[in-house]
């Protein structure tokens, strides 16, 4: 199954989803598709003006361009997702998930889909590490 992960660039979530036999939908894959298009020359990410305009599907013109551009990258993945795992309280999330407002919208878009969703917490210690792993494992196994 295609599982959307949030934060969409998380190493931990990507690895666990794949490890337990599903396909993670990540920012990295979406960006790779963009940057490998050599006909677009808009480095570094090849997010073009057209993409930012596509973001209007998710948010109006009064919303900053950075939010719309980001949503244009993730929106299609969220639409494609069959399940999702959302990790709360991450001590990080820079780079592509740098905009808090976009993150709020991404989570809302996931919830609106009505697909199975697992909410987990970023682990603070070994016990919570186990809790995270066990919960994700059970959730993903139930999807099969």
């Amino acid at each position: 199954m295609k599982v959307f992960i949030d934060p969409p660039n998380s190493l931990i979530l990507f690895d666990l989803v794949e490890r337990f036999g599903h396909e993670p939908l990540s920012t990295m894959a979406a960006i790779q598709e963009k940057i490998d298009k050599i006909e677009i020359d808009m480095p570094p990410m090849n997010v073009s003006l057209e993409d930012v305009m596509k973001g209007l599907k998710y948010a109006g013109i009064e919303v900053p361009s950075g939010v719309r551009g980001r949503l244009a990258v993730w929106g299609p993945m969220i639409e494609e997702a069959e399940a999702a795992i959302i990790m709360e309280d991450c001590p990080y999330s820079f780079g592509c998930v740098g905009c808090h407002r976009t993150s709020l919208m991404v989570r809302y878009l996931i919830k609106r889909r009505g697909i199975p969703i697992l909410d987990v917490d970023y682990p603070n210690d070994e016990d919570e590490g186990r809790d995270l792993v066990v919960r994700i494992k059970e959730f993903l196994e139930a999807l099969k």
Binding site: P64, V67, R68, G69, Y92, F94, R101
Partner: protein, 409 residues
């Protein structure tokens, strides 16, 4: 290679990062991103004291701290966030202040939309580079020999001939063909100065048409208007030392520049909309069927409180004007309201991006509109200085700075 440190959020996802880098490259600079680790970020945000929700803004803070602590070497700073993002705007402005308090690096801030093109950033980037590479030239306080400056602006073209630190000849004309307009004013300025073009030892060009004129006159100095105008302003106002803010409400965009000993260290240039520029006052004059030169004295006789006008957008502003006139308000009150509205817009859109330092030197053609100067004074709480020949700042700056290229000087 000049290194411009970029502190930003959203550029890569707004399709503008490439434009930022292109603008920097075209003025011989390169964009760099100060290196930070995860631990640096947490520490920097704690120290800075403003804890934004958006992680990318935290990263911006950490990068700024690297610059402030001299852990990362850069020559200038470019701070940019998305237009209409409140969190980004707060961080952008506070980081600009932080960089200025902790370094001597020139800073420029910008809020962009997805439509940003490199050409819009060119003047700003060029000014950053000029401040870094021509520090000594910009510190020049006297004009020497016989030199001329030409300022090819969007509304008017101005020329000045200077001889031994005094203005010997000057002229201006509404801008038409870049070369033809410049030739006319140069000829008249030379005539007034009593010298021939061949006697002129160096020429400096600035403004939108600077590159073409630079080639045409084989100018020794071809430089953007931010740094050139600053020099002209402090020379004309005799404020070469200490701090000041230069305010130039131009025909197409407005500039606010803070200077320390005549060298700019922060500047803003209106980018998103031309609603609050001199162009709006021209439109108002046209509707009132008066010359723009008469608008100021008319405004002085009126009271802006009697007429409602908002020039945030020039189209809506003119609509306001039409409604106000329809309501039977006097031309005097309407003229005062137009001036007040422009001053308010400059305050809201430009002056929030810099820390205003007194005195304020108001320059450019619009500084001759007395009602506008009064309005700026009212909005800012202290009346700006308007030096004599204030419309010639660019041309004077060009003449002074180009004399720096003369042999043996």
């Amino acid at each position: 290679m000049i290194k411009i440190a970029q502190l930003s959020c959203g550029t890569e996802y707004s399709s503008v990062q490439y434009e930022v880098e292109k603008a920097a490259r075209s003025v011989g600079a390169t964009v760099v991103h100060p290196d930070v680790s995860a631990a640096d970020i947490n520490e920097a945000v704690e120290r800075f004291g403003f804890k934004p929700q958006s992680p990318q803004l935290k990263l911006m803070i950490a990068r700024a701290v690297q610059l402030a602590d001299r852990k990362y070497d850069a020559d200038a700073v470019f701070i940019a966030t998305c237009f209409r993002c409140a969190e980004g705007a707060l961080v952008r402005n506070e980081l600009r202040r932080f960089i200025q308090d902790n370094t001597r690096l020139p800073v420029v801030t910008y809020s962009f939309t997805e439509r940003l093109k490199a050409s819009q950033l060119l003047t700003r980037m060029e000014a950053l580079v000029t401040v870094v590479t021509r520090k000594e030239l910009l510190a020049r306080e006297r004009q020497t020999g016989i030199t001329a400056g030409i300022d090819s602006g969007s509304s008017t073209t101005k020329a000045v001939v200077m001889i031994d630190n005094r203005i010997a000849g000057k002229d201006w004309t509404p801008s038409g063909d870049v070369i033809a307009s410049a030739e006319t004013v140069m000829e008249n300025a030379l005539k007034e100065a009593g010298v021939k073009l061949k006697d002129v030892e160096a020429i400096g060009t600035t403004g939108y048409g600077r590159f073409r004129l630079g080639q045409h006159y084989n100018a020794k100095l071809v430089q953007e208007e931010l740094t050139v105008n600053s020099k002209g302003a402090v020379w004309l106002a005799d404020r070469q030392r200490g701090e000041a803010t230069i305010l130039d409400i131009g025909g197409m965009d407005n500039k606010a520049i803070t200077v320390r000993d005549g060298v700019p260290d922060n500047f803003t240039m209106g980018g998103i909309c031309a609603g609050a520029s001199g162009r709006f006052l021209e439109m108002v004059s046209k509707r009132l069927k008066i010359e723009v030169t008469e608008l100021g004295s008319l405004a002085d006789k009126g009271n802006w409180r009697n007429a409602k006008m908002n020039s945030y957008c020039s189209v809506f502003g003119i609509q306001d004007l039409v409604t106000t006139l329809g309501d039977g308000k006097t031309f005097e009150d309407v003229a005062a309201a137009a001036c007040h509205s422009v001053a308010e817009q400059v305050y809201e859109q430009q002056l929030q991006e810099i820390d205003v330092r007194h005195p304020i030197i108001q320059v450019g053609g619009t500084s001759l509109i007395s009602g506008l100067v009064t309005a700026v004074g009212e909005v800012l709480g202290s009346k700006p200085i308007v030096p004599a020949n204030s419309q010639y700042i660019g041309a004077v700056g060009g003449a002074i700075l180009s004399s720096g290229f003369l042999e043996g000087v």
